[in-house]
Symmetry: C2
Subunit: 192 residues, 2 copies
DNA sequence: TGTACATCAGTGAACGCGCGTTCACTGATGTAC
DNA sequence: TGTACATCAGTGAACGCGCGTTCACTGATGTAC
């Protein structure tokens, strides 16, 4: 049956929320469209009224998930300055490491993106650039190194993404090692 | 029919080679056991004479692929010293970025490992520790920062893995951006 | 060295299952009069 | 404002297909005598 326009919009958001969490948790290839729709309280046929296909859903869900997480971190709270530490704490958190459905989709889908459609790659690139800009904006002004902030921002995002991916990769076999990676990378980046 | 023991060993190696390349290219979830066996010149039933199941194959293929690539980089060539630059050049290469079947399995399966069995995580952890040791061994002695080489090695591996994953993630949408990430991260790490 | 035979790596049909996508259909919504 | 009806979001059966794994079977290998 037809539903109201507001209901339809709500359903689309529910699909994006569900897809964001499930894709991060099990990978795009590891989740069926039926799973996403069930999680959103719909049947699988409904998906194709909102998205062209699974790749389209993946691309939009990526952007949706990135925006949700990034706005939380980058929007300055009342009275609290947004610093490099804000990014480091938010990114390199053990709690996020242990819950795959949480966290930045850059980490969850980094390796997978190379195998997905160009639309997914586009979403990924936009998110990366936005995070990199945000971090570049909070870098301390001109350090002793001469202050090539742009290059440093690239390194920082790469290290954040890599550290979380590695920590998640090793945690099942060696929890102490996983914690060590997060802590050490946090400490080195904090001192740059 | 039965084959000679040497032939059987050769076939197992062929399975590991095929699995290593295909898993890196399409992800563990993205490749069927039949694909791996076909690539190795066998039928799918043969796989279960060498490996308990697909996860077992994935774990052994990971180690096999890491060893093959790492030995090539870390074994000092005659007359050539093994330096940090050796690692950086080998890791942050555009050629490797553009051929998913090549390169370090740490990058290819980083995000995926969190969803695989503990055996895969074990292989991943061992490889990470080995690469980190190798890099720690070529770090310049005691920089101005006080020389916490262990922490720096963690950062370097995280940055290498993250930079390659990001470069691969964005390359379909923005090749210049993908190149920029590799170059900038290379340059910053080289100066540390 | 020659023969008889147990071993077992590899074969390929078969299993149950879940996948992404399509499509005829339903019926509340929202518009035209 | 009230009624008739076109719209279209959502349903659920059906499609062809490939998946991981099992298993009865094959026949060259390699061993025991």
């Amino acid at each position: 049956m037809k539903v109201s326009k507001e209901q339809a919009q709500q359903n689309k958001q529910a699909l994006l929320d569900a897809a964001g969490a499930l894709f991060k948790q099990h990978g795009i290839d590891g989740v069926g469209v039926a799973d996403v729709c069930r999680e959103a309280g719909l049947t699988h046929g409904a998906l194709y009224k909102h998205f062209a296909d699974k790749q389209d859903l993946a691309a939009q869900a990526f952007t949706h998930a990135f925006r949700a997480g990034y706005d939380k971190v980058s929007t300055p709270r009342a009275g609290k300055a947004r610093t490099l530490g804000t990014y480091l704490d938010a990114y390199l958190s053990k709690r996020v490491r242990d819950d795959l459905s949480k966290g930045c989709p850059l980490v969850s889908t980094a390796c997978e993106t190379g195998r997905q459609s160009e639309a997914v790659s586009r979403s990924f690139a936009d998110a990366f650039v936005e995070l990199r800009s945000g971090i570049e904006g909070v870098l301390p002004n001109a350090g002793d190194s001469g202050g090539d902030k742009a290059a440093l921002a690239n390194l920082m995002v790469a290290a954040l993404v890599g550290a979380m991916a590695i920590s998640r990769g090793v945690v099942k076999a060696d929890r102490m090692l996983a914690d060590e990676v997060l802590v050490q990378v946090h400490s080195v980046l904090d001192g740059m």
